[in-house]
């Protein structure tokens, strides 16, 4: 249709009524509903949420899914490769319970002999595949040896889904147990930050004046201390363990939240609805809890969402340096630290915890982004 030439008969005069002019044709939605809608439509964020929930569930039930305890040691089954029933016949997946290594020698025979020696001299369970024929000089020949670790130990019916570590402990159980610890550290640290931060920031922002100025001076000094330095000092002094790590992480960690909350409170407290409440004689406590807090939920949730992965990362970092939790307890960080030492030869010890921690971090970040978008009125359509 020619837009410039719309037939006149299509135009109809609208019926004017006093009561419909104010009518909102779309359904009315509160800010919260709006945010939820935006979030639900955000596919990556929902996916992340789902993944995180799954990880939380597994961190609870995962360690109990097989018969091995997290500290069931047995050196005779140390460093077993991953083996999963059903998947064991698909060799490229890496769940077939074999160890593979390339071994050099002067000629094929020499290399083969070495390869068999390498895996405890069990020729029946070692498959040899020639890679390089060699010409008799040192290291010229190369064979690829595949060792059936389970069969060789007569453990045909045994399955360690993600293999075992250097003490023969089931890695599946340890990884989920470690995930649990890491999540607990992350979430508890974030909650403590939240509680202290909101309280401190709220009081400071709401009362303003000298109280605020005094409280802000303290924060300014605390913020000036690099958190890395504080955490290190704390962990050197405290006995290692989950509590110490959480304490070290939160001792200055709450300042970020406090600053944000204070800023938000200062913005909100001068708005009309707060003035109205004050005029009506509502006690301060109720104004903070009933009027200010609900209006800050978004920003608090977003901030917490980014605190959790931060804490998980720091725990991993500390464990990696050797200041983390106390064995035989595991965390993702301590598992990565252990795995790092055998990266080249038993890569699965590093691979799975590293993947898991990465997924957790990614999911938290994407979800955090999604929440930020959801609580940002500009993004609502």
């Amino acid at each position: 249709m020619d837009k410039n030439n719309i037939p006149k008969e299509l135009f109809k005069p609208i019926e004017r009524k006093e009561d419909t002019s104010e009518k909102i044709s779309r359904p009315s939605r509160s800010f919260g509903q709006d945010a939820r809608r935006t979030l639900l439509k955000n596919i990556p964020a929902m996916l992340s949420l789902f993944v995180l929930l799954a990880i939380v569930v597994f961190s609870i039930i995962g360690p109990g899914m097989n018969e091995y305890g997290y500290d069931d040691q047995d050196l005779s089954r140390a460093k077993m490769p991953p083996r999963v029933p059903g998947l064991e016949n698909i060799s490229w997946l890496g769940f077939d319970g074999t160890l593979t290594e390339k071994i050099e020698g002067t000629d094929v025979e020499d290399a083969t002999e070495k390869a068999i020696m390498r895996f405890g001299n069990k020729p029946d369970f070692t498959d040899i595949e020639v890679v390089e024929q060699g010409n008799g000089t040192k290291g010229s020949a190369e064979v690829k040896a595949t060792f059936h670790a389970y069969d060789a130990k007569g453990m045909d019916d045994t399955y360690f889904w993600l293999g075992t570590d250097g003490l023969g402990r089931d890695q599946w159980t340890r990884i989920w147990r470690g995930t649990r610890i890491s999540l607990i550290i992350g979430i508890v640290a974030a909650l403590i930050d939240l509680i202290i931060g909101v309280t401190y920031g709220g009081i400071s922002g709401y009362f303003g004046g000298r109280v605020d100025s005094f409280m802000q001076r303290i924060i300014e000094i605390l913020v000036g201390i690099p958190n890395l330095v504080v955490i290190f000092l704390m962990l050197i002094v405290l006995d290692p363990g989950i509590t110490s790590i959480i304490l070290a992480l939160t001792i200055t960690g709450w300042t970020g939240m406090a600053r944000i909350v204070r800023g938000e409170v200062m913005k909100l407290k001068n708005q009309e609805f707060v003035l109205a409440a004050q005029t009506l004689g509502t006690p301060n406590r109720k104004i903070i809890a009933g009027h200010l807090l609900p209006n800050m939920t978004g920003i608090i949730i977003i901030n917490t969402m980014f605190t959790v992965p931060g804490a998980i990362f720091f725990e991993a970092f500390l464990s990696f340096i050797g200041l983390g939790i106390l064995p035989p307890e595991a965390s993702l960080g301590s598992l990565i630290d252990l795995g790092f030492d055998s990266l080249r030869i038993y890569p699965y010890l590093l691979l799975y915890p590293a993947i898991l921690i990465s997924i957790i971090m990614i999911a938290f970040n994407i979800l955090g982004d999604g929440l930020r978008d959801a609580f940002d009125p500009k993004m609502h359509k």
Binding site: S76, R118, K138, G166, D341
Partner: protein, 570 residues
């Protein structure tokens, strides 16, 4: 508007250039043009170098890794492996050890021992020189030894190694006598007379030890506090000189010392060292041909045990756990100690966790260490296994212990190291003890080495995983550890009979080698009847060593490696 924007851009540019400037500031140490060339080449570099080096050689250069920095090069202050290693390579004492761990000529050509075995007279060579040209004289020894026991020096090893051996050493160290009264005198420039407190059969091997090295008095006093803090503040009289070193250095080199009296024997021109702590990194460097020797951790042994260059070298250090009888009173119970010492599988530990050729230890004195003066059997062969893994027996003792102590459950702290391997061992031992002795709870405490020593000194632990390496070739270095209130006992162990045996070995039996040796044998048996300690393993080193490295001897004590006779092979 536009104007201000341009100015913004300008500022932004400034900021950026600031950062760039900061970056180039970091590069300042190197020539400005070079980096560009280097970035293009790196791919070829690692491949080229190893290929080139051996060809350009016949060159006597070896490249090594050191596990850490050298803490000190002051022979009076040295206490650890690395210090003794580099002191051994750069300095020369009265003697050094040869391939067969026998004395080889050093600054001393020969010595005479008086009939009562209390006076040792050393004849020194006259052609030995310090690296500044000064001759090495008997006075240098007198000065060094006096300095080592002088309380003002604050040496740890001085009083420990000389006390009870050299006359008046202990008295001088406590300040009761002036340093001049120490039993060491120079008779002329080239005769050294040493008076001993008691006849000491192992004094010979002490003369090779780091603490007994000579010092050039004029030089040391001129440098004062700065002595031995860097290459410039050191004098050498040994086969090599230490170059490009300062106390914090992560790289340094040893070069052949042209002033060394026996320089003709020394074939190596140069050894380079770089600090690498991670064994995996070491192996990578080895594979790229950048270093000629590297240590292997357990996993790496799995991977390289069939490598052509794989070498296992036995060591003489023994690891055990100490059971402190003073803090946790339950540990004063001998049945509990016996239960603990039998309740863990050592074989699985050395095979799987250590995996480096270490062997199970079932006694205190290591295997292949010191032989019976008459029969020639080793100490370990004669005394056999004194503390073996035996769950059934352990549980028997455990039941008795619980009865005697009147408890059903017990909690014990286990103090261990915090390196990767020791962490695994701690976890393993905890698990073994807990699962084999029902009702026992072991709490782990993992601390760095230095902290552990501190807790040891304060006897602030229950069980402690510890180790000991010999300081000289004699059972005394082991058995003197556990005498009542001994400086290294630190676990409240006390047995009068044991004390008497060790004491008599040092005094009235000192001149009767057989009786003395048997006293030591007897003492070790008593130690394990009391289950004072629980031996775990005797260590070994699994390494990749390039076939280029020839003639490097491994010493049972003191400097780990002897390079004087080393050369580059092939």
């Amino acid at each position: 508007m536009t104007k201000s924007k341009w100015s913004l851009l300008l500022v932004l540019g400034l900021v950026l250039s600031l950062f760039l400037a900061a970056c180039s500031g970091g590069d300042d140490e190197e020539p400005a043009e070079e980096p560009e060339e280097n970035t293009e080449e790196p791919a070829e570099e690692p491949a080229e170098e190893p290929a080139e080096e051996p060809e350009a050689s016949g060159e006597q250069v070896l490249n090594f890794i050191n596990g850490d920095t050298i803490p000190t090069m002051d022979s009076s202050m040295a206490t650890d492996e690395y210090a003794f290693q580099f002191l051994g390579a750069t300095m020369e004492g009265l003697y050094r050890l040869d391939e067969n761990q026998q004395l080889a000529e050093g600054i001393a050509i020969e010595h005479k021992v008086s009939d009562d075995q209390l006076t040792w007279t050393f004849t020194l060579r006259e052609d030995a020189k310090w690296s500044n040209g000064d001759p090495v004289t008997a006075h240098d020894f007198v000065y060094a030894w006096q300095r080592a026991v002088d309380p003002a020096t604050g040496s740890e090893y001085g009083p420990y190694m000389m006390g009870g051996v050299i006359k008046n050493a202990t008295a001088v160290n406590t300040g009761e006598l002036p340093v001049e009264d120490l039993g060491v005198k120079a008779e002329g420039d080239y005769t050294l007379v040493v008076e001993l407190e008691n006849p000491t059969p192992y004094f010979e091997s002490l003369t090779t030890f780091g603490t007994f090295l000579p010092l050039n008095q004029a030089f040391v006093e001129e440098k004062g506090d700065a002595y031995a803090t860097s290459t410039e503040n050191l004098l050498f009289n040994g086969p090599f000189t230490l170059d490009n070193w300062e106390s914090t250095a992560a790289e340094w080199e040893l070069n052949k010392n042209p002033n060394y009296w026996d320089a003709d024997t020394v074939q190596l021109e140069k050894m380079t060292y770089v600090v690498v702590k991670d064994p995996q990194v070491g192996v990578d460097l080895y594979n790229q041909g950048e270093v000629d020797r590297t240590g292997l951790s357990s996993d790496l042994v799995d991977q390289y045990s069939t490598h052509d260059d794989y070498v296992v070298t036995p060591e003489t250090s023994v690891f055990y756990f100490k059971m402190n009888q003073t803090r946790n009173e339950a540990l004063a119970n001998v049945n509990l100690r016996k239960a603990l010492s039998m309740a863990f599988d050592k074989q699985a530990l050395v095979d799987t966790i250590l995996n480096n050729g270490s062997i199970v230890a079932n006694g205190l004195v290591p295997a292949e260490f010191s032989t019976h003066p008459e029969t020639g059997e080793t100490f370990r062969e004669i005394n056999g296994d004194l503390a073996v893994y035996d769950v059934a027996k352990a549980q028997e003792h455990w039941e008795k212990a619980k009865e005697e102590l009147g408890v059903d459950t017990l909690e014990i702290e286990f103090l261990g190291g915090d390196t990767e391997t020791s962490k695994l061992m701690n976890e393993y031992l905890k698990n073994q003890l807990e699962s084999n002795l029902e009702g026992l709870t072991v709490t782990l405490k993992q601390v760095p080495f230095e902290q552990r020593l501190d807790l040891d000194t304060n006897m602030d632990y229950d069980l402690q995983f510890a180790g000991w390496g010999p300081d000289y070739l004699d059972p005394n270095t082991w058995l003197s550890l556990w005498v009542t209130d001994g400086g290294n006992n630190m676990m409240g162990y006390s047995n009068a009979e044991y004390d008497a045996l060790v004491e008599s070995a040092a005094t009235d039996l000192a001149t009767d080698p057989v009786a003395r040796y048997e006293a030591f044998l007897e003492a070790e048996k008593i130690l394990f009847e009391d289950a004072a300690i629980a031996p775990v393993y005797q260590s070994a080193m699994a390494q990749l060593i390039s076939p280029k490295v020839q003639g490097v001897f491994v010493n049972p004590f003191g400097a780990t490696y002897e390079y004087k006779w080393a050369s580059v092979g092939e």
